[in-house]
């Protein structure tokens, strides 16, 4: 018997029992909707998180800090910095010294809104982080200009409307325990653009002064952060190990590798995704059991019909195929509809979610000067998941249809004909 005829007969049987077929198919639709919806939303969510994380920290920059969480933080000697500069895989290196116990005052004696004051080599840092050190006003000082200061955007404002300093103003640095025995006058050379969302290198509340100035304030030449830009992001873990190897005592240094962190987060998101998908798959299994149940009833109802088919000369295999074709069609149709509804629902859901988040953010948005990054989850159409879900639907239906179909195929024709 030709497959096409078997399928058309199966289709006729299904049409005959329209309500029953629809309800059975609905189970599959729900299962596939859940799988596709979760897959595409989850993937979109994951991409969004990855994007955000990439914006939060530059993936190609390793942050090297002295000491460790167990031994406490220390300082880097200049010769240690120069050893880091020679590490293979490091494209550029910028050491920083953040000053403890430091206040910045404007010309009126009002304190600036700077949380961190760091001694840097301006040009070195600007080259490494051109976007972070983009001046909104003024310009980044060149190497020779020692008595200058560069301020982060928010460091210059008391609140939204009250500005504390302008480019060209003098700023007083007070250093050390009160009554601030060490002071220094610096000229504001540049005010930086706003960095936006906080990452670990958000400079909005930072102030940068020349490294030499920090040394003279502290009366020694030390650093407490080294930024290492790697030439190849994918090798950043290896470069991190190279940096660690430069130090004699592995506890005297900690290297933060953003890529490793990202990978870890990615892994976690992956596990969450798989977990959600397995829950969704359960609904498909439930649908499969529904199919098994309905088909078993159907085989019983059609016992006589099966007997007739066999008496006429249908082989067991033909009867088996006929019932499996029904299961397969349910999987096929349920899978197709489920795919459409799955993507439909995930797009609808994502749209609603983005709107919700945007309206929550709007107050914050007004405060920002330039393009705020909005959270937008775009469901991802994944051809692989589509195919997997579709095949899964059919496989589940056929597997659960196998038992009733075999039951039908094995019916003894004489008994089946006697069946009332």
């Amino acid at each position: 018997m030709k497959m096409s005829r078997i399928i058309s007969i199966a289709w006729g049987n299904m049409k005959q029992r329209r309500l029953r077929t629809s309800l059975t198919t609905l189970g599959v639709v729900i299962g596939i909707t859940a799988i596709i919806g979760l897959a595409s939303l989850g993937e979109g969510f994951r991409l969004e998180i990855r994007n955000r994380m990439q914006q939060g920290f530059e993936l190609d920059i390793l942050i090297v800090i002295p000491g460790s969480f167990t031994t406490g933080l220390g300082e880097f000697e200049p010769q240690e910095v120069s050893r880091v500069r020679n590490v293979s895989g490091a494209a550029s290196v910028a050491p920083l010294m953040t000053l403890p116990r430091t206040r910045l005052l404007n010309e009126e004696g009002e304190p600036l809104n700077a949380l961190t004051v760091a001694g840097v080599n301006f040009q070195e840092l600007a080259q490494m982080l051109p976007e972070r050190l983009a001046p909104l006003e003024g310009s980044i000082p060149s190497a020779g200009e020692n008595n200058t200061i560069v301020l982060g955007y928010k460091a210059c404002f008391l609140n939204e409307s009250t500005r504390l300093v302008n480019v060209g103003d003098n700023v007083t640095v007070q250093f050390g325990a009160a009554p601030y025995n060490v002071t220094k006058e610096l000229k504001v050379a540049a005010i930086l653009e706003k960095s936006g969302t906080s990452g670990i290198t958000n400079f909005d509340y930072w102030a940068f002064i020349p490294a030499n100035t920090t040394f003279s304030l502290m009366k020694r030449e030390v650093y407490n952060i080294i930024l290492v830009k790697v030439s190849d992001v994918e090798e950043s873990e290896e470069v991190g190990r190279n940096v660690e190897a430069v130090f004699d005592n592995p506890y005297s240094v900690s290297v933060l590798v953003p890529l490793a962190f990202m990978r870890q987060v990615d892994r976690i998101l992956n596990i969450v995704q798989i977990f959600l998908m397995s829950i969704a798959s359960i609904s498909l299994l439930v649908a499969g059991i529904g199919i098994m149940n309905i088909m078993t009833v159907s085989v019983m109802e059609r016992t006589r019909e099966i007997g007739i088919l066999k008496a006429i000369g249908a082989k067991s295999r033909t009867v088996l195929t006929m019932f499996l074709a029904e299961a397969m069609l349910i999987g096929l149709i349920g899978g197709l509809i489920g795919m459409l509804t799955g993507y439909g629902i995930s797009y609808g859901f994502a749209y609603g979610l983005s709107n919700l988040i945007q309206s929550q953010q709007s107050s914050e948005v007004a405060y920002r000067t330039q393009n705020p990054e909005r959270l937008s989850i775009n469901p991802v159409f994944s051809p692989e998941w589509t195919v997997i879900a579709f095949v899964f639907a059919i496989v589940v239906c056929v597997v659960f249809g196998l038992y009733p179909a075999r039951k039908a195929a094995k019916l003894d024709p004489v008994n089946a004909l006697r069946y009332e």
């Binding site: 018997m1 030709k2 066999k310 008496a311 006429i312 000369g313 082989k315 067991s316 295999r317």
Partner: protein
């Protein structure tokens, strides 16, 4: 004339719980090609059981059944199905049409199973329904047909594959006398015109009388064989 069917020492019993109920207790006879054979006997004598065995729907416990040279014992289930499809047509007392299908589709069904292309199959089915005088009823479902019409559809279905043997189990059992006679006459006409072998089970002695030969079955044994006087094979 050649033997189309041989029944050799066939025994068959049904297991009901732990008790074996004998239905056939050693039945032997031959059927010649083109013969019109009636199997006659009281209820429970094993007629239907015998017919099912001859049609390869079931297997005997012991003994042999040879259909057109094939020993059914030696055939697999699939080959038996194939044999039913190609060489045997069944007609049942309760018509056994598929209620969902139209008369035409019911008749086409064996051709579908045989893999005959749809158009060709429908043509063949239609021509048989015409032969049965049902050209006006082709698109009716069984529930929309009278008993006699349903039985004629069943006959068309049994004949559509041009089987060598037609096995009918009380084909007139559910019909009034007049309609029953019409069916029997139709069978006899086909038997004469096409030379197909007919084996029919009947309770009706008048119908049994019209056959070439009558086998009288009782308690699972052949009690008597009666040759019709009107025809000497």
């Amino acid at each position: 004339m050649a033997k189309i069917l041989e029944v050799r020492e066939v025994q068959k019993s049904y297991q009901i719980g732990k008790i074996a109920v004998p239905a056939l207790r050693g039945v032997s006879f031959d059927v010649k090609e083109g013969e019109f054979l009636a199997i006659f006997g009281p209820s429970g004598s094993g007629k239907s059981t015998l017919l099912h065995l001859m049609g390869g729907l079931d297997r005997p416990d012991t003994g042999e059944i040879i259909v057109d040279g094939d020993n059914l014992q030696k055939l697999s289930d699939d080959v038996l199905a194939e044999l039913r499809l190609r060489k045997i047509g069944f007609v049942f007392q309760f018509f056994n049409l598929l209620p969902r299908l139209t008369a035409l589709r019911n008749v086409e069904l064996p051709l579908t199973i045989a893999g005959v292309p749809e158009r060709q199959g429908l043509e063949k089915a239609a021509s048989l329904l015409k032969l049965m005088g049902l050209e006006a009823r082709m698109d009716h479902r069984p529930s929309e047909l009278s008993g006699g019409e349903q039985q004629r559809v069943a006959m068309a279905r049994a004949l559509v594959n041009s089987p060598k043997i037609v096995l009918a189990d009380e084909p007139t059992g559910n019909l009034d006398t007049k309609t029953g006679w019409e069916i029997v006459q139709l069978m006899q006409r086909l038997n004469k015109e096409k030379g197909q072998t007919f084996i029919i089970i009947t309770h009706d002695p008048h119908i049994a009388e019209t056959a070439d030969r009558m086998i009288f079955l009782k308690d699972g044994l052949v009690e008597a064989v009666k040759e019709a006087p009107r025809r000497n094979a």
